[in-house]
Symmetry: D2
Subunit: 278 residues, 4 copies
């Protein structure tokens, strides 16, 4: 069978459970219909115990894989600000939050499938090998089959060194720059207005899945081979974009399926999703 | 073998891991040598992720059973103030905190053996059947073999109804009143000066284990049959008291051993500690 | 001039500044056009330093009187749950929060005009003379001319005893029961759907101002003589209700003006708003 | 009168009020006897409303000048970790905390005399002109006669630009390096054991006051002309050091007096303490 004949597949993930107390944020109920992996906030940047329970329950109902969306302890800054934490502190923070979420996951009779750091923690581990190592050890110690969703060479290598299943992530509703960085809105109010065109986002998803490339804001092209694509549920028209992405992927013959990882210790533990052609 | 010939046994528990950030509290290292069960704070009234990791490690080193010491979300009041939470909120708070501690316990290759509510949460579940039920469901959903340390009929029945192993607790360094209540110091500074005589405390322990009775402040006697005795590690001479208790129990032929519970589903799951004569 | 010829007047107040970090709550910008007193959250149940600054600025722009909306330290419960605090603790909490808000008010070149407790703190001081006294002392110590917005005999007397200007509050978008209590939605989601008819609310406002009465849910009538009416800005159609209230009060010849209080020490410090006929 | 005949004078400051809930830290009662300015924690890295009230009261009793010791919102890291805050965020954080402390100061019939940032906030404003400007604007907006205790050229200039009275600070119980930086213990436990010799510290104080120099760890000499010297009250033998410093300064004819600042708008607002010879 030639590569062209292989089925393609991709995972779709979304940050979820970011409401808090009386505050409601994110189109969780709508987005849950379109995605295969949910990154659920653990109460440090967003979410609270009640929201965590409800969001785990919602994910389980939709047969969406449950992951922990861990953060720096910065509710005022919503986890978006860098903090100078030591590797030991980062390890402790991740074990704590992942454990708390796992409590709700186990109570729901399910298992924690993955972990994805939020905001500034995502950025620092992607850039610092010691912090990446601390994160990976925390993920490993959380459970032998918990995968990590991240991006970049530092994280890929840190995961491999520790034996954590690694799932490379790509982004479709936020533009890339030539260095592979994401071009985020610089303020919360700008972010709240970020509203990429659904067709554009769906085209990006298709091209990433079929061709492994994405356009940059500078006009160039970037190669990337993610096994999961992130959709943001806290932006306007989030569900419309997710729906359009699903339609276009279906038209192009790309299956949207949960990532599967080989169990740790296996030689193929960091292998791509079965059937994905790159 | 007649009851008189049976060996007596008791578990000794202590609240641990109540330091926070730069604040140090409690004689954890000393107390760990004397006890068999450690109730480790989960960051809501005391403790933080680093303290939790270190305290779990210390307990594991001393082969002390690890439990979660869960609390209301009241750091300013140190979990000692009542809050009007719903059963659902209490359930969520317990699952969250027990899960977080379990994260560190699993990372240390150990298992969570028990849970004990702290301060005001202890008091409210002992007095309110709905809240007791919520707590027991949270313990059950945390793990099939996690026991609960509490006191009184409401909690015993709530645990039995849900199938949670129940371990009745007694107190020896704080006086009882005729109603079976504990006579706590009414202020933090008074508490910090509470300093019961080691011999008195050790005598109480012996009499509870051998005769199932304790004196009350009114001058009467109370019957109680605990499977674990609590020692407070944040009071002056805490280690001296613990040491004296161990000496006197040894002299009287009472073994200090971790409580053991039958696995849930077993008809004997709420049976007394093996070998304890009451 | 006979009482009948006197102009009537009323103050309209609204809870404001209840957004937090990325969470947005309440129609502050719209409501500010209709009200005369803003109760601004101080970061303990809602609000954060940035929201406080922005909300003070918004109030000053609209020439709306600025007050501190102080709360129990319960972000998870949004200040709606009772906590067993001592009078000393309540005093300290109020001084802290009022001081923090006063910082922003002074920075804006304005002055703190009033204080209103939020949620559960409002309820407990209205029912407990010792806590009411603690609150009033905190208000007095915050500034000699800071008024308190509350309701009921306990609070009126506690304010008088301490010399704090007291402004009786009435409610128009939430029904009263025969005991003078407010019939709140029992859950957050029910609250979020509370949507009283604008005409009904406006009629209540008119009748309270002109006749000093309000209907109860039991079908009876309650006498009340508030100097300020509360409108909730976090409910659907909040601005529509506020607008309708202003229209109807104008039609009936009731002026909407900020309450004024005599300076402390004056014999008239608890006198009604100038010109209000009751 | 020649410079040699002038009386010398210095202010002594100490961080205070860093206890929290049940946690006790720092020898506040002892240190208050030796110092002239107290930097009182505002609840963000340490302290709580009750501790703030008690510490303000203690300072007022000892006629010690009261200042706000403001911090980043990082209780877990005790304000010692850098956070990437914007100038606007830093401004808001300072106004909030200084306002909260001012609430207690005014309640005690006193006035807020100064502000000193804690830990990481001290370090970042000393190194970043935009953050220093934000801090100074917050101090100015807190009160027209509130001084700031800081060090270095960036802060001196930022204070002058905004019109905030500036008080240069020197350190005597922590060594300097050749670059003028402080050589802090790198971990909390090392810090807790930092225990400089009282005679050495007292000699440093004398030499700074009389000669304007201090030795560096590299063996060189640094010129500095502080108007206040910091003593740490949370280290072993803190009171012994403070006592020795007072004895030696007295022997050498250096008065320990509170810094005085000219009122803003005055041409001499940043002038040295009256009578200090440098």
């Amino acid at each position: 069978m030639s590569p062209d004949q292989m089925r393609k597949a991709i995972d779709l993930n979304c940050d979820m459970g970011e409401s808090f107390a009386r505050y409601s944020l994110g189109a969780d109920e709508e987005m849950m219909k379109f995605i295969t992996s949910a990154n659920i906030a653990c109460g440090w940047h967003a979410g609270d115990p009640g929201v965590m329970r409800a969001t785990v329950s919602l994910a389980v109902q939709h047969d969406v894989g449950v992951g922990a969306h861990v953060s720096f302890p910065d509710p005022l800054g919503w986890g978006l600000r860098s903090m100078s934490v030591s590797p030991e502190e980062l390890y402790d923070y991740v074990v704590y939050q992942a454990g708390a979420l796992a409590g709700f996951v186990h109570a729901a009779g399910n298992r924690l499938r993955h972990l994805k750091p939020h905001g500034s923690m995502y950025a620092v581990v992607a850039a610092d090998a010691d912090l990446a190592d601390a994160l990976m050890r925390a993920v490993r110690d959380t459970g032998p089959d918990v995968a990590v969703l991240l991006t970049g060479e530092i994280c890929r290598e840190a995961a491999a060194a520790v034996g954590v299943p690694y799932v490379e992530e790509g982004f479709i509703d936020i533009p890339y720059d030539a260095g592979g960085g994401l071009v985020f809105a610089s303020t919360a109010s700008e972010w709240a207005q970020t509203d990429a065109d659904p067709d554009l986002v769906a085209d990006r998803a298709v091209r990433i899945c079929l061709h492994g490339t994405v356009d940059t804001i500078e006009g160039g092209t970037l190669a990337l081979a993610p096994r999961t694509l992130c959709l943001h549920g806290d932006l306007p028209r989030a569900a419309a974009r997710a729906n359009r992405v699903r339609e276009r992927l279906a038209e192009e013959g790309v299956d949207v399926v949960r990532f599967e990882v080989a169990r740790p210790g296996s030689a193929t533990s960091t292998a791509p999703v079965t059937g994905v052609h790159r």
